[in-house]
Amino acid sequence: MGKGVVNKLTDSINEDLFQFAEYNEEEAKRGGYSNYSYWRSTWQVFIKNRLAVFLLTLMAVILVFTIIQPYLPNQKSPTEIHINPETRLPLANNSPSSEHWFGTNSIGQDLWSRIWNGSRTSLMIGITVGIWEAVIGITVGAMWGYIRWLDRPMTEIYNVINNIPKTIILVLMTYIMKPSLYTMIIAMGLTSWIDMARFVRNLTVIIRDREYNLASKCLGTPTRRIIAKNLLPYLVSVIMLTIALSIPQTIGYEVFLTYIGLGLPVSIPSLGNLINEGRSLMMVASQRYQLIFPSIVISIITISFYMMGNVFSDAADPKNHV
């Protein structure tokens, strides 16, 4: 029928209107649009802090170095006992030299490779436990805070877990499994999440009844989505800080466990082990290097994480974004 009419309509279409528009920042700003991205702004604020960037680089270098160190040329095995070829005795307690950069320990093992090996072990424990703590702690904590009927039973569970000495659990774990890296990680992971959960719970309780959450609820948003989209973004900065702090805390706790005799066996070097070995030689001035070197490494690692955590949590707070 109206073939001509259709033709007419096609004729009247302005082809230009169906072209993709080029993104123009100036034009976009005029319309009130901002290409704000939360994580990018966080990152921008973070890299403005020169100290934090320096520590981040340092940490990355240390991490990479602990991993590739054994594969570098001329590295000694951390467990090999070096023998003096003339006397046929172990090279015990040798001061730092060109052969052994950090000296040797009381049975003649090379301290340089022991320290990097130990840092790798300790960092692995710290990071694994830190991530585990964050995942379980935040999930449980957010549910504990948001779901009302969970509050009473969870508080009781918290009281019980918090008051059972961790040492009993650790002793029990080392009996059930052999003392190894994994025993250590599992034993620490078993108990450490509850404090994180408590912390997240308190923060959640403070903001769960704000109007925007009530509105969300009225609109029928499922609980899971309210927790993930309404509550957690508010908590990013504090949660980041606690995670960054939990890594040095875990390393410090490992030192403590070794001190009370529940740490890793001496055959697996860790910073806790090395510090503990060094402590026993502290009274002899010429052998003090055996405590000082591991202490310096552990302090650099923990201070870096602490400072980075602080700067990052400032950066993650949208109030500080431009």
Binding site: N159, N163, P165, V255, Y306
Partner: protein, 314 residues
């Protein structure tokens, strides 16, 4: 308030019961070698059985548990089995508590005084020299393991001031260094929290009003800001004071102080069931009571805080 307190303390009794029972059962889960220590190899199977039966470990579990609670209700915490065999647990604890208590209270006194003053100084000079110095101190103390800086302190400070390295009850000089080392951590955390709360409070409207009224900065600080900033800290105080009896494991072993530090760890490793149960009972009661007293103290400091639940409010 009274009704609230009674209700809360009764609830705590149940929690306490669960904790002690769980610990009781956990201790029985540990392998039996632990009860013999080094002499395990020297004994044959029959001797071991005889010793275990003698300790009452061959009785059925529920019988052991009921026996334990019966004694507990009569105020008898039992006798130590492996740590100092046949000595009543209470006597062991009674000998050790005073040392830890004196050192702990001294440390809390010093850290409160110095930590709170440092925190106030940091908040008043925000981003200036004092603030940066204080932050540096806080970072250092939190990041370096206590085991390391305690050791260096003991080594170098005793060297500089010609102090003896080990604790001696009759020489007052030997008390100084352990107390100072113990308070370093406390100073850092009090300063950190005090600064945080002070800075938050200083931005509030009532401070502006007080300024507008013409009050001097010092008056505002002491009368208004300090009181409000101290409220959240008040909650931790009773627990901290009560927990001084637990002692510091590092300090006490470094200076050979015969206190409570490390006792719990030691008896867990030696599987001294009665002593472990007694200590867990004591420590968890302290924890629960400390938390409760903290709430009460907070309500005393800040009359707006109401612990009882009213209708309407959650």
């Amino acid at each position: 308030m009274l009704k609230y307190s009674i209700k809360r303390l009764l609830q705590s009794l149940l929690t306490l019961f669960i904790i002690v029972t769980v610990v009781f059962l956990l201790m029985r889960l540990l392998p039996e070698e632990g009860y013999f220590g080094a002499s395990y190899e020297k004994l044959d199977e029959n001797q071991r059985e005889a010793i275990l039966t003698n300790m009452g470990l061959r009785d059925p579990m529920h019988k052991q548990l009921i026996g334990f609670y019966k004694d507990l209700l009569n105020g008898d915490l039992g006798k130590s089995i492996t740590f100092r065999p046949k000595v009543p647990v209470l006597d062991i604890i009674k000998d050790k508590v005073p040392y830890s208590l004196y050192f702990g209270l001294g440390a809390i006194g010093i850290s409160l005084l110095l930590g709170v003053s440092l925190g106030i100084a940091m908040a008043r000079n925000k981003n200036k020299f004092w603030d940066k110095l204080g932050t540096g101190y806080v970072v250092f103390i939190r990041a370096v393991p206590a085991a390391v800086y305690f050791l260096f302190l003991q080594l170098y400070v005793t060297g500089i001031f010609k102090l003896p390295m080990l604790f001696d009850i009759d020489k007052p000089k030997t008390w100084i260094l352990p107390v100072i080392s113990m308070s370093l951590g406390g100073i850092a955390s009090y300063a950190m929290w005090m600064r945080r709360y002070m800075v938050d409070e200083l931005n509030k409207d009532y401070v502006k009003l007080a300024r507008a009224k013409g009050l001097k900065s010092k008056q505002i600080m002491v009368k208004h800001v300090f009181r409000n900033a101290f409220v959240p800290m008040a909650q931790y105080l009773p627990s901290a004071i009560l927990f001084t009896i637990a002692g510091s494991i590092y300090i006490e072993s470094l200076y050979s102080i015969p206190g409570m530090g490390g006792l719990l760890v030691e008896v867990i490793k030696r599987q001294d069931n009665t002593l472990v149960q007694a200590l867990v009972l004591v420590y968890s009661s302290i924890g629960i009571v400390g938390l409760f007293l903290g709430d009460i103290l907070m309500a005393l400091f800040d009359p707006r805080i109401n612990l009882q639940k009213k209708g309407g409010a959650r």
